[in-house]
């Protein structure tokens, strides 16, 4: 599996915390992702505030939403001029949502924040709607998604 080799290269570096070797080991993406899969969205976000090591581990972890059929993972609302990115079923409470007022300068911020919340997303479907590619570049959409999709539609 891809992450098996890569993850150890991504072992968080010593940042001067009190954490020992065992704690660092659980921060490698394949283990930390396993832990995060049992946590709620709010817990994932709270963990980011714990320490630099843990914040980096969250950023390197994967997000699995492949258990929910028919989900929408990226959605741009034009009417409200709010850029919304849903990672998971829109109606489900545990969905991760990034919401930002639609301004060109902010689009880069959306991608940057997404990259701090997870590394890769695993899903059965990718549903992209209402994107004006004259305004939002394909490159930026790809950066926000970073999807490993089994049934892209």
């Amino acid at each position: 599996m891809f992450i098996s080799i890569m993850s150890r290269a991504l072992l968080p570096q010593d940042t001067g915390c009190l954490s020992d070797e065992s704690f660092r080991w659980i921060l490698i993406p394949e283990i930390f992702t396993n832990i995060l899969r049992h946590l709620k969205r709010k817990d994932r976000l709270n963990l980011r505030l714990c320490s630099r090591e843990v914040e980096e581990a969250v950023a390197q972890s994967d997000l699995y939403i492949d258990g929910y059929p028919g989900l929408s993972i990226l959605y741009l609302s034009r009417r409200s001029r709010v850029f919304k990115v849903h990672f998971g079923l829109k109606s489900k409470r545990e969905t991760l949502r990034l919401k930002k007022h639609f301004e060109d300068a902010d689009m880069e911020e959306v991608a940057r924040v997404r990259e701090r919340i997870f590394s890769r997303i695993y899903t059965n479907y990718v549903d992209i709607r209402n994107i004006d590619y004259n305004v939002v570049s394909v490159t930026l959409v790809e950066r926000i998604l970073n999807v490993s999709s089994r049934n892209k539609k």
Binding site: S19, F23, W25, N34, R37, D43, L49, V54
Partner: protein, 172 residues
């Protein structure tokens, strides 16, 4: 294939040796691969030696768990996120983990067993211990999480404010 007569000697990182039945080690992808790589004739060679990067105390806990779960079906079932539950830890496993509460540093023991389960590729044990850790921090505040994970905050106030701002985007 199961080789109930074959026994495996595991050499720990601190130099101890433990001999166990192949019936237990079949749950460890690492040990099974090591034995396979030796290309031994299982009937002709009754004993194989495998070095594991796990200390003696932790390996004893792993073997205790393997002994209880020796009859579990293989391969370990993969679950989707919808099927995953953190509250379905079997009673024996819960008691197994709770025993560590009497140890001087229960959290370090949990980390060590998680690490051992990963190194030895024992999916059932890894999943159970990850759930246990997740259950400890589920729904906790940041301060409580730091206390449970035994972490010191090494962010500046400015950095914390920035992360809170980013989190707020996701919480709206």
């Amino acid at each position: 294939r199961i080789y109930p007569l074959m026994r495996v000697t595991l050499t720990t990182s601190d130099g101890a040796s433990v001999t166990v039945s192949r019936q237990l080690t079949k749950h460890s992808g690492f040990i099974e691969k090591a034995i396979t790589d030796m290309a031994v004739d299982d009937n002709a060679v009754p004993l194989s030696a495998v070095a594991v990067d796990v200390d003696d105390a932790t390996l004893k806990l792993v073997i205790e768990w393997l002994t209880e779960h020796r009859d579990d079906a293989l391969p370990y079932p993969e679950k989707t996120d919808e099927e995953r539950r953190a509250d379905d830890i079997p009673a024996w496993d819960q008691a197994f983990v709770q025993k560590w509460d009497t140890k001087e540093d229960q959290q370090q023991t949990l980390y060590a067993v998680i690490t051992a389960a990963d190194k030895l590729d024992i999916k059932g044990l890894l999943d159970m211990t990850c759930k246990t850790l997740a259950n400890k921090i589920n729904g906790k505040t940041v301060e409580e999480m730091r206390e449970i994970l035994q972490l010191e905050c090494d962010f500046t106030e400015e950095e914390l404010a920035e992360i809170r701002k980013e989190n707020a985007w996701c919480e709206n």
